[in-house]
């Protein structure tokens, strides 16, 4: 930046005395002030608040010891599972591709979906329900609830004492979703004249984009994004700009994929085939998913997010050098082991971005800002543990009859809603509804809305659920969410239900 603008600063109008003012003015005029503001705002959204100077780094990842321990032992299990699959199938974790194979892959880069390697021996490393079992067994060893069973006893599966918001607090947090505020997803339906809300909202959206202001965009999108503006708004909020360096970086990752084959590639391949390829909305984009996920697993810049993620990247050792730190490598290179359904994080983005490198950047940013929290054990309010607890607490507090009934018939609600939350509802909602939901995740910089929606869905289908007498029947009532309209559900649950 400095090199580019050095010459502009050498103009005669700029005097030494007023240099400070001149630079400030220059920032404003050239648009750099806005860009810097956006960058700072983004950093603030991502990184945790400054902590005590003496606090060790691991506290940034996760302040509670028992959580850290639980995460570490879960990671050990996953890595063990991966290694044993490796040994069983006699496939190395990584290998360099012979030149012929490299050429072939390069030719097929845009249609990897047509490849049909034999994946029958591969199993996903874990599925959401395996992870749920781990969360169910989480206990805080310092917490002794000496009271006998009372109405305060938590009847759900999660038994750790984390603070979660109640409905009054949620109403305040999600104040823009209130009944008196216009929403996309509600006030843009065909029965409502567009002059009442939609037209003006679109106009404001266009202005926000013109101003290129991240903070304004984030505030704006709380009321939902117009379809035509969404791709640009998300880019602005996540502060993604496609510079030539970024495209080059993506191409470099692609080269890595061509040159080396990783075991996780097969896992990714299998996951896409099992999930997105069979999805009514996303099957069209199958090939893009490979192009994104294979590159993603080789992207070492992703390692950066582990400073604030309770998880740590799995370490592997060069053959024969077990335990020698000098020969330790992160595996996969980006430190993220995919699980069953992982590709569904990328799929909805294909509706917005049709250039692979743009799609890639957006997905990567969404992952290191939000999605990682859905499969690591932490005390963060947007972490999956808190979301589960929030969901169960909302249900138990505001729909106690339903909650009690389901529990009695062996259908703990979390067993059904867990998979929705882990996937951020991708693959369960219709795409247009999902995008409206993710608008709000970006707008509020929080995943709590997933737990609220899960509770709202149960509330919506409460009548039918009260009639069922088994877990299977409860699952059946909640099997198809594709007709749900998320905003009305959320609004009614938060603002129109008597509490």
């Amino acid at each position: 930046w400095a090199a580019n603008h050095k010459t502009s600063l050498q103009r005669p109008e700029i005097k030494l005395e007023s240099l400070k003012e001149d630079i400030k003015e220059f920032f404003k005029l050239s648009g750099w002030e806005k860009k810097l503001q956006n960058a700072v705002y983004s950093e603030l959204s991502v990184f945790p608040l400054p902590s005590h100077p003496v606090a060790p780094l691991e506290h940034l990842k996760e302040p509670l010891v028992y959580m850290r321990k639980a995460q570490a032992s879960w990671e050990k299990r996953i890595l063990k599972s991966l290694n044993s699959m490796c040994t069983e199938l006699s496939i190395p974790l990584a290998r360099k591709r012979p030149v012929g194979e490299q050429k072939e892959l390069l030719n097929k880069w845009n249609e990897m979906g047509t490849d049909e390697p034999d994946l029958s021996h591969f199993r996903p490393v874990y599925a959401p329900k395996d992870f749920l079992e781990v969360l169910i067994n989480l206990r805080n060893p310092n917490y002794e609830n000496g009271d006998s069973l009372s109405f305060r006893t938590h009847l759900g599966l999660i038994q750790v004492p984390l603070k979660v918001k109640d409905i009054p607090e949620l109403k305040e947090f999600f104040i823009e979703l209130g009944l008196n505020t216009g929403q996309l997803g509600i006030d843009d339906s065909t029965q409502v004249p567009p002059e009442l809300f939609e037209n003006e909202h679109v106009r404001i959206g266009q202005q926000v984009l013109a101003k290129q202001d991240t903070a304004a965009a984030q505030q704006y999108i709380r009321q939902g994004s117009p379809t035509a503006l969404r791709a640009d708004l998300w880019t602005l909020i996540l502060n993604i700009s496609c510079q030539p360096e970024d495209i080059l970086y993506y191409e470099q990752l692609k080269t890595n994929v061509i040159q080396h084959d990783l075991l996780v590639d097969s896992l990714i391949y299998k996951d896409v085939k099992l999930t997105a390829s069979n999805d009514d909305y996303y099957f069209v984009f199958e090939d893009y998913l490979y192009q994104v996920l294979l590159c993603f697993s080789r992207d070492t810049s992703v390692l950066g997010h582990f400073t604030y993620n309770s998880a740590s990247p799995p370490k592997s050792y060069i053959r024969g050098k077990l335990g020698l730190e000098d020969y330790a490598v992160f595996y996969p290179p980006n430190g993220v082991i995919p699980f069953h359904g992982f590709s569904m994080y990328v799929a909805p983005l294909c509706f917005l971005y049709h250039e692979p490198f743009k799609l890639y950047q957006m997905f990567r940013e969404m992952y290191v800002r939000f999605f990682f929290r859905l499969h690591s054990i932490s005390s963060h309010p947007s972490g999956i543990v808190s979301l589960c607890l929030l969901f169960e607490t909302l249900l138990q507090t505001y729909l106690p009859q339903l909650f009690y009934h389901l529990r009695e018939i062996g259908a703990q609600p979390l067993r059904i809603s867990f998979k929705w939350m882990v996937r951020a509802f991708s693959g369960y909602l219709a795409t247009d509804q999902l995008l409206l939901l993710w608008d709000r995740i970006l707008g509020y910089n929080s995943l709590e809305i997933l737990a609220v929606l899960a509770a709202a869905v149960f509330a919506f289908r409460a009548v039918n659920l009260m009639e069922v007498t088994s877990l299977a029947a409860a699952e059946a009532v909640l099997a198809d969410l594709s007709t749900l309209k998320v905003m009305p559900l959320l609004q009614i649950f938060l603002f129109a239900t008597v509490t």
Partner: protein, 423 residues
């Protein structure tokens, strides 16, 4: 005239039969007194043929127009559209306006097409203008992608040359007639794949023209990545989107069947291209359909016992221009996936609700104006009577989802004036 509707069909498909049975209709044979006959196209030929034709009575309805082939045969459709355009040009209609290259501004929606062997020489002249172009050969009377192939060299169609001495081909036999059209080699691709649109259009009368568009159309994707490379010209999995062909490809998936809803398409296009161009595209698609119907309306035998549900095949190119490929009189009622079955069941259901109001014994003298509540997933595409009632200008304003006339209600598309999006 009380009593249940008596129905006959020669198409044994569950989506049909379930719909008849759920209305409590009674199945009879063709020789008995029937009220409703869902016929195959072969049967309709017999019913209305000059030799064997019999008179239908007022309480009998059939699902085809006698000469539907004016629209549904590839060569006749093109002929009728060309004739329609010339007529409009002659009367100086603004619709027939051309641009500086002589291309119709508003009526250029069918790829350049010639009949073979009749127009062979004309075709050769056109071919030589752009010798690198690819053309698609389609037999006039077949369906499901049968007999279609692509060519990019004149030698590949030598035998259709009229002058050819080696031609054992008797050109007068209409069964062997082919059409050759300029192949659209720049189709809009999504996820790198080619697709076409299947839209259902119900016509209850041609004069005045009253037609409905089914809101739940779908896109059919090819399973193999699209490539315009000449080496793949023979690979029908790349080029033809007919499900009948794709079903046999290695990658055919029986859950989604390679199909997308039109609303997915709309969401994708709006998200990646913006609202205005997407609305314009859909407006143009509706326009194309209405114009094609208007083109054949004058020659159609507007028999009051008839209605027809057409399957329109449309391809969108990468400039977001829709092209009419063909119209099917007997769109497939076979279901390739569970979603498909539901869609086709609902299609027949909504069609019957409009064609046979209240499920009662029909009286074909009725005004064929069903109440809005009976439309189901159909919406009015064009209603000539209503349009004319408000002056000739309104003819241009047939937007789906909007009741026609001065009190047009909210449209889903941009709030701009209708005329600006049509013209």
């Amino acid at each position: 005239m009380a009593g249940k509707v008596k129905w006959v069909t020669d198409i044994e498909k569950s989506v049909l039969i379930n719909n008849f049975e759920k209305r409590g209709w009674i199945q009879v044979t063709e020789n008995e007194d029937w009220n409703f006959y869902w016929m195959s196209v072969q049967t309709i030929r017999n019913v209305f043929s000059v030799e064997t034709g019999y008179r239908l009575s007022d309480d009998q309805i059939v699902n085809h127009f006698p000469n539907h082939y004016e629209l549904t045969r590839k060569d006749l459709m093109v002929k009728n559209i060309k004739r329609y355009r010339k007529e409009l040009e002659k009367e100086g209609s603004p619709l027939a306006e051309k641009d500086e290259n002589g291309k119709y501004l508003y009526l250029d929606f069918v790829p350049i097409t010639y009949m073979l062997p009749a127009d062979y020489n004309l075709f050769v002249e056109e071919f030589r203008k752009s010798p690198c172009s690819t053309w698609i050969m389609k037999p006039c009377g077949k369906a499901q992608g049968k007999g279609i192939f692509l060519i990019n060299k004149l030698s590949q169609i030598k035998k259709w040359s009229r002058d050819s001495k080696t031609s054992s081909f008797v050109s007068q036999s209409t069964k062997e007639a082919y059409v050759i059209s300029l192949y659209i080699n720049n189709p809009l691709l999504i996820g790198g794949r080619k697709f076409d649109l299947r839209l259902y259009v119900l016509v209850s009368t041609y004069r005045p023209l009253r037609c409905y568009m089914y809101k739940l159309g779908f896109c059919r994707f090819c399973t193999v990545k699209y490539t315009p490379s000449t080496s793949e010209l023979d690979n029908m999995f790349v080029h033809l989107t007919n499900v009948a062909i794709q079903k046999h490809g290695d990658d055919y998936n029986h859950i989604h069947g390679g199909k997308w809803t039109v609303s997915n398409l709309r969401l994708y296009l709006e998200s990646t291209r913006g609202r205005e161009v997407t609305s314009k595209l859909f407006d143009e698609i509706h326009w194309v359909i209405v114009q094609s119907l208007k083109a054949v309306a004058p020659v159609m035998n507007n028999d009051k016992h008839c209605f027809e549900c057409y399957g329109y095949d449309i391809i969108i190119d990468d400039k977001l221009k829709p092209w009419l490929i063909e119209v099917n009189a007997s769109p497939s009622l076979t279901s390739s996936t569970a979603n498909d079955r539901i869609l086709k069941y609902n299609l027949i259901n909504d069609t019957l609700n409009i064609a046979v109001p209240n499920g009662e014994v029909p009286d074909c003298k009725w005004n064929k104006s069903p109440p809005k509540e009976a439309l189901g997933h159909y919406e009015i595409l064009y209603d000539e009577e209503l349009a004319q009632g408000d002056g000739a200008d309104r003819e241009l304003r047939s937007r789906p989802g909007q009741p026609l006339g001065p009190r047009g209600s909210r449209s889903r598309d941009s709030g701009k004036g209708i005329l600006t999006t049509w013209k």
